[in-house]
């Protein structure tokens, strides 16, 4: 009979690159970290609907409108998958939502920037989703099973997001002077925030070492950021657009593009809640939730009346 302790068994699963599943024993810190990361990922998807929904009504063609609706809908769906994965650890979506609404849990800083032109919809798809995909592809190998499975599903769906964004940018880059200017302006505003999405340098990143050893994270912030830069710079050149970084240069020796320094002050102030639209994003979300209270109460009351109500306590 195998007399391994629960902890030894947990460590063996991680070492063997197998997945931790919901009912497995896990260290409390692992559980907390996975919950926090999945929840913040879910919040990011849901808050991320807002900047793009801002352009649904004004999308220039019916096809672009349909694509944008489908994309924003996917973000709701991805939020759903991720909350669902989080709930496998015995945390309810209602609880997590409350933490978002009260600012106790955060979402990706990128969604605090405003969408000011149609080109921003292209830039978000190409740069923001592009950055997200780089991260999420790696997260398919994360050690928590439900999170990894959600990532597989999300990656499958999200590849169209980056492509539709780049397709918008190609059309604009190929268009009139006003469209070209719109395209460049969007890149100028979204480039640096997209790089910030990868988080602080590894040397400044408090969670990285532990998350790496538990294989929750599989690559560091700087590694992922470099992957994104290397794939994106040639794409910007193909568009004939300029990346707003005078220090950007190709390093022959390493084969990588080297970027200038990120404005970390802007990054941290956005994380702290002082980005352009932090307050508006949360207010919008809270209002939708509160406006919907009577609807949810009605559905529950109906279920009770008709004997369809489930007892939620397991």
């Amino acid at each position: 009979m195998d007399a391994r302790t629960e902890e030894e068994r947990f460590n063996a699963i991680i070492d063997d690159d197998e997945k931790i599943e919901p009912r497995d024993w896990m260290p409390e810190a692992y559980r907390k970290t996975v919950i926090r990361q999945m929840a913040q990922h879910a919040h990011s998807e849901v808050i991320g609907m807002q900047p793009e929904a801002n352009w649904i009504a004004r999308a220039p063609t019916l096809l672009r409108k349909a694509i944008l609706i489908a994309k924003v809908q996917d973000e709701a769906g991805h939020g759903l998958y991720l909350y669902s994965a989080t709930e496998t650890l015995g945390v309810s979506r209602g609880e997590l939502q409350e933490l978002l609404h009260t600012g106790k849990q955060k979402y990706s800083s990128i969604f605090n920037y405003p969408t000011l032109s149609w080109a921003d919809i292209g830039a978000i798809g190409w740069l923001v989703d592009g950055a997200a995909i780089v991260n999420q592809i790696v997260l398919q190998g994360t050690s928590y099973g439900p999170y990894a499975r959600a990532m597989v599903k999300i990656c499958k769906e999200e590849s169209f997001h980056a492509r539709q964004g780049y397709s918008i940018m190609m059309t604009l880059a190929d268009g009139s002077d006003s469209q070209k200017a719109m395209c460049q302006d969007a890149i100028d505003r979204w480039w640096w925030p997209s790089l910030m999405m990868f988080g602080p340098h590894d040397s400044e990143s408090a969670h990285t070492a532990e998350s790496m050893s538990w294989k929750i994270k599989r690559k560091t912030n700087d590694e992922l950021r470099q992957m994104f830069v290397d794939q994106t710079v040639p794409q910007a050149r193909y568009l004939g657009m300029t990346i707003p970084d005078p220090d950007l240069e190709f390093d022959e020796e390493s084969g990588h593009w080297k970027i200038g320094e990120i404005d970390w002050e802007e990054f941290w102030s956005t994380i702290r809640g002082d980005g352009r639209l932090n307050r508006e994003r949360i207010a919008h979300k809270v209002k939708a939730w509160e406006d919907g209270a009577w609807v949810r109460e009605a559905a529950t009351a109906y279920a009770v009346k008709h004997g369809m109500k489930l007892d939620k306590s397991a």
Binding site: R23, M38, Q73, E87, L89, S211, K312
Partner: protein
């Protein structure tokens, strides 16, 4: 990276206790999708809904947007009965190689068996 939102220097993260909060949302349902005729329904995730009828609708809207399914099941999550996944539960089956056809060496001449 982005989804592991870091704590700003000088800030203390809110201490959060999970699992004890009150949930004002709808009950949770597990969703199973049959990808096409001839295949079993497979677990894909969960949704919230106030009753079975809306649970089916929500499962359809949430999990078959790309025509991933021709049929869905929903089951109240609390009705799932799960094994405890202890090592004593499934490992004993790993030591019965004679249950597998490859255990037996049969001469080629014998033909299909």
């Amino acid at each position: 990276m982005s989804y592991d939102v870091p704590v700003a220097p000088g800030d203390t993260p809110a201490e959060v206790q999970f699992g004890g909060g009150v949930d004002h949302g709808f009950p949770l349902w597990e969703v199973f999708v049959r990808a096409k005729r001839g295949l079993s329904h497979t677990h894909v995730g969960s949704i919230h809904a106030s009753d079975a009828e809306t649970a089916i609708q929500n499962a359809r809207d949430g999990y078959t947007r790309r025509a991933e399914g021709v049929s869905v099941w929903v089951v109240p999550s609390k009705e799932i009965v799960a094994s405890d996944d202890a090592e004593s539960m499934f490992e004993p089956f790993e030591h019965k190689p004679y249950r597998h056809p490859t255990f037996y060496d049969i001469p080629k001449e014998v033909g299909q068996l």
